[in-house]
Symmetry: C2
Subunit: 366 residues, 2 copies
């Protein structure tokens, strides 16, 4: 081992990791930012109020460690979903929760499964764990391949519903069919479920192998404070608590999250507004004759068609570039035939969506 | 795999994990809290100011993801230590950094070494990783066993300096002797270094296998916001960035940390005050005739002697209980002969330390 460099001392798989690429956070003003599925509206006014109260005159409470279990926040989440507090684990963003699930259930022999496309963090987390990844590809229909998931031999399967980047949601009937046939742990990543017609929380009562993951980053407009959570059987929660950092969620994040969850009316207003804007824009893309998946999320996955009626990866990239040059930022996933012909557009304010649509008008030469 | 419970689906080592036990965070008022090495003074007033500015009227910025690399914070840390920004990685508390180091350098074959006693989180992190732990025990002198560390066969060795819970600091001369003989990665956990005469940051320039870990939880009075960092060779930083969560530090934490690091005068005042209080209390314990390690941290590790002149685990526990019943909270580590006869007392305000000493007077029947 003598004279080894730090990189040579690292575990071999770590030196090979391809880090997750977060969406661009542009510097400077004037961007119409529709690339990372953030909420276009501010959080509940109760959040700023609660934060100011916690900070007080001099921030004195910040000298103390936070509640290590986020106990008041777990209680608020449990109440919201009519579950017990022992069915809730809080994470530093839902990414923390997903990481804990991979650490608890995935290894080089115990595979972690996920669909392609879905949240591109999963393969990164499995790579960090030096685990076995089991990838189930969708076809262009994006219908859930229940049999292939069931037969996948994965120890835990991560299903994003509504899916990203398509926006396609899977019904509870489909999810229960997976639970009936797949013998492992089923993690339903519901980051976008507040914008969907249905969610899987009600299935927890009769499925101990189900984990539902949520975030406050989207519908609660709190991507900046990093709070997500798992809902599951108390035994699963106990396992996650065993592998999580003991102070994983700071004082201000806990306070902000409790305040946001306590303002149901504001939350419902934001969600309703995003859905109305989404439906209007889905109609607009249909008018354009662009193939677009039926989104139940706060984004739209659409296949740009240029003035000559062409589609495909090159066309999508051209549309992306045209938008980018005019400071409209969306997301393009160029590395796979299922995603490369599409753009993912976060639902912004009506004004932002108008800017997007006008720029696309200019692109197609309307 | 059919009909397995969630616990049976988990990785075998995960089901056996002994979670880290954080110090008690007592509910209710009136406690003299000297058990978790928090700072007795509030953070710099610039912190509350910066937080209020970030929150603004309506907390609108919180809807956006934080800077994924904590870039402005890395720049501030680099400037503080006269290093390059590529020599800095920021974590969700230094516990996050320690976890990343274990994930990058430790496995069932690549051992992670640490001394006993030292920070009790290390063995938990190694257990979560299903890694091999290499424990080097101090003797009661608490002198650094340089040869045993060098010969330990650990891939990475975690050295707490000043050590916890003893407060004993190791000199740069000793640390360089370890670096000369130990062929692995040496992580010097400097959570308490702001209270010490010396620190290892200056050694980074000529030792690429050295990592220095710091936290804002102690000297910067920001345990509640969870910010810590690693200083190391850019190659090591790159490895940590590969395994960390892409949004591991929230917006408010980044803002608070930058503000705190920017107020050097306030920081120096807090550190100086804690040191003066520590020295006064070290003298007081010497007067009592209690064996006490020479602390360079913000706590004191002392061996209580009862009215009959007896010491030992039972005596220490009796002193702990006597203090606890009078709402003075310190820390007792009963599970090892090296620590069981002692109590660890965080340096509080002069008033809090007076309350502690008076209660101990009552205990010994002065």
């Amino acid at each position: 081992m003598s004279n080894l460099s730090p990189a040579q001392l690292a575990l071999p798989h770590v030196a090979r990791i391809h880090a997750y690429t977060p969406g661009l956070q542009p510097a400077g003003q004037g961007w119409v930012k529709l690339n990372t599925n953030e909420c276009p509206y501010p959080p509940s006014p109760l959040v700023a109020e609660a934060l100011r109260r916690e900070i007080g005159d001099d921030g004195a409470s910040l000298r103390l460690y936070p509640n290590p279990k986020s106990t008041p926040l777990r209680a608020a989440i449990a109440k919201l979903h009519a579950l017990g507090p022992d069915q809730v684990c809080v994470g530093n963003g839902s990414d923390d929760i997903l990481n804990l699930l991979v650490r608890a259930f995935c290894s080089s022999s115990a595979g972690a499964g996920f669909t392609f496309p879905s949240y591109s963090l999963y393969p990164v987390l499995v790579e960090i764990q030096d685990g076995r990844a089991v990838v189930i590809e969708f076809d262009r229909s994006m219908t859930l391949p229940i049999d292939r998931i069931s037969d996948s031999s994965a120890r835990a399967f991560f299903l994003t519903s509504p899916n990203a980047p398509t926006g396609v949601a899977f019904s509870n009937t489909e999810i229960e069919r997976v639970l009936g046939a797949f013998p492992g742990l089923l993690v339903v990543d519901e980051a976008y479920a507040p914008f969907a017609r249905e969610n899987a929380v009600g299935l927890l009562a009769r499925h101990p192998r189900l984990v539902v993951v949520r975030t406050l980053s989207k519908a609660y407009a709190l991507a900046g404070i990093r709070v997500g959570y798992a809902l599951a059987d108390p035994k699963v929660i106990g396992l996650l608590d065993g592998v999580r950092d003991s102070y994983n969620v700071g004082r201000l994040s806990q306070v902000a999250a409790v305040a946001a969850l306590g303002d149901a009316a504001y939350y419902e207003g934001v969600v309703a507004k995003v859905i109305v804007t989404r439906e209007g824009n889905l109609a607009r893309f249909a008018q354009r004759g662009w193939f677009t998946y039926p989104s139940q999320a706060n984004f739209i996955f659409t296949e740009p068609k240029n003035s000559r009626g062409e589609t495909g990866p090159v066309v999508a990239k051209a549309a992306y570039d045209f938008l980018f040059e005019r400071k409209v930022l969306v997301r393009h996933f160029p590395h796979h035939p299922l995603t490369a012909p599409f753009l993912r557009v976060t639902i912004g304010t009506d004004g932002e969506m108008q800017a997007l649509q006008s720029t696309l008008d200019a692109w197609v030469g309307v």
